[in-house]
Amino acid sequence: MKRRDFLKSTAAVAGASVVSGPAILSSAKAQSRQETLLIVSESGPNNIDIHGVGTNVPGYEVSWNCYDRLISHEMKSVNGVPYYDRDKFKMELAEDMNVGPMSATFKLKKNAKFHDGTPVKAQDVKWSLDRAVSVGGFPTFQMGAGSLTKPEQFVVVDDNTVRVDFLRKDRLTIPDLAVIVPAIYNSGLVKKNATEKDPWGLEYTKINSAGSGAYKVSRWTAGTEVVMDRNDDWAGGPLPKVKRVIWRMVPSAGNRRALLERGDADISYDLPNKDFVELKDSGKLSIVSTPYSNGIQYLGMNVTKPPFDNIKVRQAVAYAVPYQKIMDAVLFGLSKPMFGAKPGTPTEVAWPQPHGFNTDIAKAKQLMAEAGYPNGFETTLSFDLGFAGVNEPLCVLVQESLNQIGIKVTINKIPGATWRTELNKKALPLYTNVFSGWLDYPEYFFIWCYHGKNSIFNTMSYQSKELDGYIDGAVTAAAEGDKTAYEKDVKSFVDLSFKDIPRIPLFQPYVNIAMQKNVTGYQYWFHRRLDYRAFEKG
């Protein structure tokens, strides 16, 4: 290229002008817009198979909608919102479920087909459940929570019948078959794509949906969008109304809100609480807020080391937390308070339920003096930066309040990537965190969070033989169906956990969904993600 030519061509490029205007949708596009649901959220899936290594929570949503399970839950109504019914099961791939004392038998729907047209057989079910208990990591762990641990438990009776043998009497076994993990895979297809190094075909299902579910993934660009189309041959239930679901990742919360308000997006969740309150007040959109089932944000204390090994110190902290301020200034009222039960309120057989502590600085000071810390002490309060929107202001309020009873708090912000590692070391003295269980039973929560077998969710390292006794008692009573013993044990472990207060429940967070007015059919599920199958666009 000559110097003169180069200069000329630059000038030519510089001269080229750019003309454009907003795209106008043709009528065909408007039509497809009517049958398409556009969802925007902050982050998307990293794997569309829940059995995969490190599949993130958005990935669960794809699995839920693109795969079927043998059974699922019926809906009930809680405060006008369709809410999954913990105790009522409906058939999905199974046509019939017969639960005996030590096994359950499932007959499969004869017309059920995978996305590629192969019929769903008992062998697929057995292979899929074997896979769930064998791949390790989260899926195996979740199956274990329902005493489903060995491939021998799943027996093919004939082509259309499967039997699940129980390891022991456990009332969580059947509910555990209705969570996301025991999805049924097209075993022929996945086996064909498995390799010696990867016998369960995880690499294949990571990017391909191989199920029989109501939707199939037709395009997935990681970090950008997931496009799912309806499976018109779905046998698991009534045909969904929405033909196509487009799920776009929009990292900026402000833009998600703008998209909703302009009417370009149909649904958004994970908006900051403040935005939800303002959207609710504006009345332009429908906003649904539902408390997390079996979930609580709490303030945890490490009980193995001073000063929090002292029960009086823990109680003092529980009296010093500015509960109401947190509700108002951090959550804008979008959470269920878990404090301030009136004295004498009978303990309920339910979880979560409010404890009796209230903000009472004088009482907290007195307890600190009784504990031998009249001048207070210094400590650090840690939180997960991944949820800084709530955690940061919350911790600042707690810091301010604890300062009044002499506890000098340094706030320790931990990035999302390191949070779990730090928490699992069980060395943080004081921290805030959320726990919520898929299976909505009080004893399920307590086994993970308080039991002396010290699971990773017992972040306080709390040990109490008495409490363990109540929890074990409740589990046995539930399996045997002894209602009186069960209720007594549940009340006892709730009471003891409030008295010993190794973790202070703060509030029950809400799942907030904002939708256009013409979108209906939102259902609350234990996994808190969206179920596209019930949505409808008016």
Binding site: M1, K2, R3, F6, L7, V13, A14, S20, G21, P22, A23, L25, K29, R33, T36, V40, S43, P45, N46, N47, G52, V53, G54, T55, N56, G136, G137, F138, T140, F141, Q142, K206, I207, T221, A222, G223, T224, E225, I246, R248, V250, P251, S252, G254, N255, A258, L259, E261, R262, D264, A265, P415, G416, A417, T418, R420, T421, N424, S455, I456
Partner: protein, 337 residues
């Protein structure tokens, strides 16, 4: 010319080796345990260990490095854990998105800054000179994400002129067949006018954001170097010979003033690639910057290493390009080389 290119490329080799080693060590030094992160919230110690073995993170550092270099030799940059895709494919898909945006942003900046700089230099102290100073200062002082949000608020939310900030294309358009990866070029090559329009209307706001941010150094440099050239002897001679002001300014002075401007352009281009990260976040742009940031947050080693490698290679290529441009603009450089 060819020997110069080859010589420059040889010089780049040691720096690339250095980049490989440093990024490897730096990513390992990141706080956070990818195994714990990817084992999920419900994993116990055993599950975390299982994941660690699966990811090969239980091996000593030197073994991990050996494996990394071996894979690199095969052109395999590893797999991203956050998106689940091979890093090379992701970078191949995302680089054109970033490049398209950055180049257009740079083009916007040049289209505004160079005429502005020239005008300011020919009339120092005038209204336009002050305007140039104010615009440049304002552009560089506004944080780029803030500027992006303001533009979205005004042009999308309030006025509705701009399409929804949803990435490269509106949801109801399919991307054009990938030839270059640049939607503008690909849609033109395949004759999809509607897609071209959709793509360019998505590009305008982010490109404006980047452009406004980048115009300051270009405008200042153009002005300064034009001032120097305009006061030199040959310009005086040209004026004295009765050439038109246009010929003097554009044909003679500007060409001589271009050298420092081109150097600045190279610098601006590289920092635009960095500033891109924030613009990509605001406009949900599926570019390489947002990819790297997400990977960094998750302690996902492979994409971070891949990103730094790509950037290093691009810097080397860019510097090479600038050197070649020098030769084309200024014949004296050829003799030195």
């Amino acid at each position: 010319m060819l020997t110069m290119v080859l010589k420059r490329m040889m010089l780049a080799v040691p720096s690339l080796i250095g980049v490989v080693i440093v990024t490897f060590l730096l990513t390992r030094a990141l706080p956070g345990d990818p195994a714990a992160y990817f084992a999920g919230p419900a994993a116990d110690k055993v599950a975390v260990e299982q994941i660690r073995v699966k990811l090969g993170l239980d091996q000593p550092l030197i073994v991990q490095f050996g494996r990394y270099v071996q894979d690199l030799g095969k052109g395999d940059l590893g797999n991203s854990l956050t998106t689940g895709q091979p890093v090379l494919t992701e970078i191949k898909n995302r680089l054109p998105a970033s490049a398209e945006l950055t180049l257009l942003g740079l083009f916007v900046a040049m289209a505004i800054a160079i005429p502005l700089g020239i005008l300011a230099a020919t009339r120092p102290g005038s209204l336009i000179d002050h305007a140039c100073r104010v615009i440049a200062t304002a552009g560089v002082s506004l944080p780029v994400f803030f500027l992006g949000l303001i533009l979205v608020y005004v042009f999308y939310y309030l006025l509705g002129w701009s399409p929804a900030p949803l990435g490269r294309l509106d949801v109801f358009y399919n991307p054009p067949a990938s030839i270059t990866g640049f939607y503008l070029i690909d849609s033109l090559l395949t004759g999809q006018w509607e897609t071209f329009r959709a793509a360019i209307s998505q590009l305008i706001l982010p490109a404006m954001t980047l452009g406004i941010f980048a115009l300051a150094p270009i405008a200042r440099m153009t002005r300064a170097s034009m001032l120097a050239v305009l006061s030199s002897d040959f310009v005086r001679t040209a004026r004295a010979s009765g050439l038109t002001p246009y010929t003097v300014t554009v044909t003679y002075a500007f060409r001589n003033a271009m050298l420092p401007v081109v150097t600045t352009l190279g610098m601006v281009f590289s920092f635009l690639l960095g500033a891109n990260v924030l613009v990509e976040k605001v406009f949900a742009w599926p570019g390489i910057g947002s990819y790297a940031v997400e990977a960094l947050i998750a302690s996902d080693f492979a994409p971070v290493q891949g990103f730094v490698m790509t950037m290093a290679i691009m810097y080397v290529a860019l510097n090479l390009l600038i050197d070649i441009l020098y030769v084309l603009i200024d014949p004296r450089m050829r003799i030195e080389a």
